[in-house]
């Protein structure tokens, strides 16, 4: 029997009871719609987080001062000053390390132009924009020469630029930190908020030497940013750093902590994977419910159309022809329901995205999964009614009232 003819018969049977067909599909529509909608929203959120994680820089390893447990004292990252600039320079000499920046942080009141602004002042090396994957929008980064000469040069973030220089180009202007004049040599491109909701653009970056000797008086750095050559060598570089710093500190206990971006990414994706499993569970339950609805209606349909089945058998339809006809009808129902559900889910997520200003991503894989599983549900739930129809005796079916 031709598939096209079967589809035509199925279409006619479904149009005959439009309301009933729609109600039957509703289970599949709601199930698929809910899954596609929530997958779109969580994938959007996950992607946002992943973007933020990768905005911290690629293949970046951070060496923090202090450790979770140091002797009997339990502290945290950066709780004890142990790392020095010399440690950072030693790390720079390791294999597969492409960039290093010793990092010192401090909050300062910054003055310029008759305005003032409280912001985070960071001491960094000229490698900082490269490590953080953070280009300079205007002007230039300060140089190694600036680091050596404790230069009073600064690169400012977009938020600071907006606050202190509302209507002019900050490059070439002077800002004052603890009454010291710093020349603004560059403005960092806007980067937005980080994972913890902090405005990353609310920052001033100066040479770490200037920070440690002019703004503050420090001998230790908060942490050291290290960029490995690529993600493949990140683990070995991390081990090398640990070994190196352990030897340099000559301490029995590890008084520093090494973390990389990949670990953070894995923690985030682990959450989203758990979410996906939850969604898959919800999807499975709602699709089963939808499938039961389809089976129910197909059984009713077979009973109602017993006579039609009898006629078709009398003119020569084989059992398999009848089976295929009703199977196609069930699959048509569930597949149309699946398509409507996919459309509804995508539409729903777009509306939420528009209202709540959230990014949404509908992965093509999930659309394919949703469509295929609704078709499979159609086959499974349609099989018993179709089999029942095909086993009817033509004589009984013809005389069914």
């Amino acid at each position: 029997m031709r598939i096209f003819a079967s589809l035509k018969i199925a279409g006619r049977a479904l149009r005959r009871n439009k309301m009933r067909s729609l109600l039957t599909m509703l289970g599949i529509i709601i199930g698929v719609g809910a899954v596609i909608g929530s997958v779109s929203l969580t994938s959007g959120a996950t992607k946002q987080v992943e973007d933020q994680v990768s905005s911290l820089g690629e293949s970046v390893i951070t060496v923090f001062s202090g450790n979770f447990t140091s002797g009997a004292m339990r502290g945290g990252w950066g709780s004890a000053p142990t790392l020095t600039v010399a440690d950072a320079q030693a790390i720079a000499g390791l294999q597969n390390v492409v960039a290093v920046s010793p990092e010192v942080r401090d909050r300062e009141q910054v003055l310029a132009n008759g305005l003032n602004w409280n912001t985070q002042v960071m001491g960094e090396s000229p490698d900082y924009p490269q490590i953080r994957n953070w280009p300079i929008a205007r002007g230039v980064m300060f140089s190694d020469q600036d680091v050596r000469s404790l230069a009073k040069s600064a690169v400012i973030g977009q938020t600071v630029a907006d606050q202190l220089f509302p209507n002019e180009n900050p490059v070439g202007q002077t800002i004052r930190i603890r009454n010291l004049p710093f020349l603004v040599v560059g403005v960092l491109a806007p980067k937005g908020f980080n994972l913890f909701g902090q405005d990353q653009d609310d920052t001033v970056v100066v040479p770490y030497t200037s920070h440690m000797h002019r703004i503050t008086t420090r001998t230790f750095v908060n942490d050291v940013l290290v960029q490995a050559a690529n993600d493949k060598v990140i683990d070995s570089v991390q081990n090398d750093i640990t070994d190196l710093v352990l030897v340099r500190h000559r301490s029995k206990e590890q008084d520093f902590t090494v973390r990389n971006q990949l670990e953070l990414m894995q923690a985030v994706t682990a959450t989203s994977r758990a979410m996906s499993f939850l969604l898959a569970g919800v999807a499975a339950v709602s699709l089963v419910v939808g499938g039961i609805g389809i089976m129910n209606i197909m059984l009713v349909s077979v009973t109602e159309r017993t006579r039609e089945i009898g006629i078709r058998m009398a003119v020569g339809a084989r059992a398999a022809d009848i089976l295929v006809q009703f199977l196609i009808e069930a699959v048509t129902l569930s597949a149309i329901g699946g398509c409507i559900g996919i459309g509804g889910g995508v539409g729903f997520s777009k509306i939420v995205a528009y209202i709540k200003d959230m990014p949404t991503v509908t992965p093509m894989g999930w659309i394919a999964i949703a469509f295929i599983s609704s078709a499979i549900i159609g086959i499974i739930s349609g099989f018993y009614p179709a089999w029942k129809a095909s086993k009817l005796d033509p004589i009984d079916a013809l005389h069914y009232e």
Binding site: R16, G310, V315, G316, A317, D321
Partner: protein, 232 residues
């Protein structure tokens, strides 16, 4: 319990046979056997040289598709389906696929044979009983069967329409189509050429129809009678 017992019947190509009997005489069982809807529990049934009594379900379906055309008392057309599509329906189940344009050709031709080509796109509920039965006859003919099997074809029709339908059968029989008709009405049976009477599952009479009625003449007489009534 055997509904039909010891029945030996031979029907030759081109015959027009009426199988008669009151209810319970076994004529429905005989019709189901002849129509390959059922298999005999004993004995043999040869249709066009094929021993139907040994066939399985699928093979029986194929025999019905290729060799038999059914016409039922209740028409048994598919509702919300045009006359043309109803006539095309048996061709959906042909083992050898028929191209769409050939299906259309054959269905149109079958509708022409029963004088209904003007109503090809009408649905059954837009047709009169007689017209619906003509569609059913066209459907029975579309696969060029060896045998046209009619079960009380005029049971749901008034007397004039019944005569018209018998006229269609007579015309088809004149073209060489073999027809077996099951009925309990003697009036209708007199349009056939041979009458087989069953009682309690046995053939009690099998003879040619004497002074056979011709539908054309009967219709003419009927119209004259109606005119006479109107004049009076």
């Amino acid at each position: 319990m055997h509904a039909v017992r010891g029945v030996s019947l031979e029907i030759l190509p081109g015959e027009f046979v009426a199988i008669m009997g009151s209810s319970g005489s076994g004529k429905s069982t005989l019709m189901n056997l002849i129509g390959a809807l059922d298999r005999p529990s004993g004995g043999n049934y040869l249709l066009d040289g094929i021993d139907v009594s040994t066939l399985d379900r699928d093979a029986l379906a194929d025999v019905r598709n290729e060799k038999i055309g059914f016409v039922f008392q209740g028409f048994n057309l598919l509702s919300r389906t045009s006359a043309l599509e109803n006539v095309e329906m048996p061709m959906l189940y042909n083992r050898q696929r028929i191209a769409a344009h050939e299906q259309l050709e054959r269905a149109t031709h079958a509708l022409e044979l029963v004088g209904l080509s003007q109503r090809a796109d009408h649905h059954p509920n837009q047709l009169s009983g007689g017209q619906q039965q003509r569609v059913a006859i066209a459907r029975a003919l579309v696969n060029q069967p060896s045998l046209l099997l009619a079960d009380e074809p005029t049971g749901n029709l008034d007397s004039q329409t019944s005569i018209e339908i018998m006229g269609v059968f007579q015309k088809l029989n004149d073209q060489g189509i073999t027809i077996v008709m099951v009925t309990h009405e003697l009036d209708v049976a007199r349009y056939t050429k041979r009458m087989v009477i069953l009682r309690d599952g046995k053939i009690v009479s099998d003879e040619a129809v004497g002074n056979r009625l011709i539908a054309e003449n009967e219709l003419r007489n009927l119209r004259q009678a109606q005119q006479a009534v109107q004049l009076a």
